[in-house]
Symmetry: none
Subunit: 212 residues, 4 copies
């Protein structure tokens, strides 16, 4: 009735809502990882979250909205946790170091959040869901472009873009291999992924340096 009630009531509700949303997204992560986006059912997500289907729809208008929100949060979290992973490196940083740390950080993040892969991946992502996918994709590519621009100054934008796409492709391929392994084999594949990227970029970086 007073200010408090008008501010704290909603806040409490929002807090509860946030908890619910987090709970649902966590459940969705697990289900998406297990069955893939297409085969995941909203009922299964609700069940996994321990709530009723109706509750799920109180927070998300439909299935893809869950995936989109999940993607957004992942991007946020990534930005916060490893914000500078892909930021332009200081001039003079050796390529190996730049790539190595970027891959390490990304791999760590993706290993901790396997949904990321499930969402990034897959041509069977149907309908409007593709938007979320594309958006995520575009963001990541943009960040890679920024990194590459600092590594290969003077390179044409089109080439930067293409190289960025290739790098992301290599990374995703490596990630898939990594996620399917454990222990020493996993570490070996992480190293391979770095090697592929380094060897791929080395001549490009060299050329741009020579040009500069």
């Amino acid at each position: 009735m007073s200010d408090t009630s008008e501010k704290e009531q909603p806040r409490r509700r929002q807090a509860r809502g946030e908890r619910r949303i987090a709970q649902l997204l966590k459940a969705a992560s697990q289900v998406f990882c297990t069955t893939g986006y297409t085969a995941a059912s909203t009922n299964a997500i609700a069940r996994e979250a321990g709530v009723s289907p109706g509750t799920l729809y109180q927070f998300f208008p439909n299935k893809e909205a869950i995936a989109i929100e999940l993607g957004d949060r992942l991007m946020h979290e990534m930005r916060e946790a490893y914000g500078e992973a892909l930021a332009p490196v200081a001039p003079g940083t050796p390529l190996e170091e730049a790539i190595g740390s970027a891959v390490d950080r990304f791999m760590a993040f993706n290993t901790d959040h396997p949904v990321f892969f499930a969402l990034m991946h897959g041509p069977d992502i149907p309908g409007r869901m593709a938007e979320a996918h594309d958006q995520l994709h575009t963001t990541v590519v943009g960040r890679i472009e920024a990194l590459l621009t600092s590594l290969m100054p003077g390179t044409a934008q089109a080439d930067i873009t293409r190289t960025a796409h290739v790098c992301l492709g290599i990374y995703k391929a490596g990630l898939e291999l990594v996620l399917a392994r454990e222990g020493a084999e996993r570490a070996a594949y992480v190293q391979e992924t770095k090697d592929v990227l380094i060897r791929y970029l080395e001549p490009l970086v060299g050329a741009s340096l020579g040009r500069a």
Copy 2:
């Protein structure tokens, strides 16, 4: 009474069946490409083929059987058309040439048969379908291993295997990029794919040569 009447009658019928099967597989290819395996419906495949659902089930016991048969045919076709694409190269063949021609051939095949990619791809492949997927995968990896063994004699088998997996990953990543483009951009991505592979393998090949 003559050979014709006793042999061609059934043959004609069989021919009709074969045509239907081909037609259904073609339809399935398109649907799988468009929607992915999981989301593809047998009714949609039948509709695309212009037949009733019952007809589809006259030739295939279930959805996965279609995918399996499709995979088998693709493998056959690949073997026949580009049989030696991945066969061990003559000693002394420059790496660039070996990789270049292998990638060209594969890309050509995959561009002509985009389902291949749809079937190769995707961790959300459910049920017993995964078998088919794995089998296809194993076959391809095996062929790459053979190629690598001839390129990098004396390398430990475990390393060969890992390298083969990485190469396949790179190729698939490249393919995905290529398939999403047209014309000059597509050609550029083909070249990038080759470059990635060549630069990745060059040191390995060199090392094994030095050792030999």
Copy 3:
């Protein structure tokens, strides 16, 4: 072209047709026994007979026609094989003997032709198939009535009919128990069936004799 060709051609065809029909009915028997009438599929029958579905429909207009024809043939066969099993007995025949031999003969027949039971039985017999069932039923009841009339002269027709229905019910119940057993147990159940019938009929027969 001569008489021979006009008579023997059809005859040969009829002969072939008869063989086909017999073959199909045999297959149907097995399928009906295994899965029951409702769950039996015409395709399964055709497969069991080693012919195509089309062939089956060349001889039978639909599924129930198969059952009807099967029932008819069974009745014929029964009549031929054990024609007098239920015919009125000679006056003075002890009830035990009359019942005993009738049950023995029927049981033998039904044991040899388990379809009979499958067709007689069951409230899930749907649609027009019920006709066949009813017809068969009516025939059997009629024969039992004849037997009872000779055993219980002077009894009202309504009572005879009711008693006949009860006897058939007892017999079918006994048969079900018998068919589910083997060896000594089976023999014991045959005896029980006879006992039930004899004890049920004895007072009725006695009463009618006293009356006469």
Copy 4:
């Protein structure tokens, strides 16, 4: 905040569910009676209940679960309504009375719940549904054995069991005849059923008494 809000809200919902279940089981009863279990379709049951197919599956995972639950409820109801119908009779009870009342009670129950018969009956019961059927059957046979043991003390177990099976067979046969009639005819068949059972058991009971 009060008990009412926290307990009755869910209760009301549960109540709705219970009503639906009852409604669905009632509809299932009718459909099973009309078409038999095998030919009964879940859609038909849902339609009969006036709900959508999805609703049915909210409460039952599949068709057989409906039949099983139906059987369970019938058994419960039977136990509650006529709990002692088959319980051992007081020593000295005339056989006619024991049988008469047991048959009356059972017939009354089965007449009120014709599904019981539909579920008891039928060798074409497929799949895991057979379990339910067998369980029901076993329960009933057990109760008859108990009754017979009290009527025929000193009889070998194997004989008791066989006699129980025969009695159940007779009863089911009688029931089938009874259910197909109305009014006076029905009553007459009830009496016949009793007579058959009494005459069948009389000598056995007498023998065991003589022995005792």
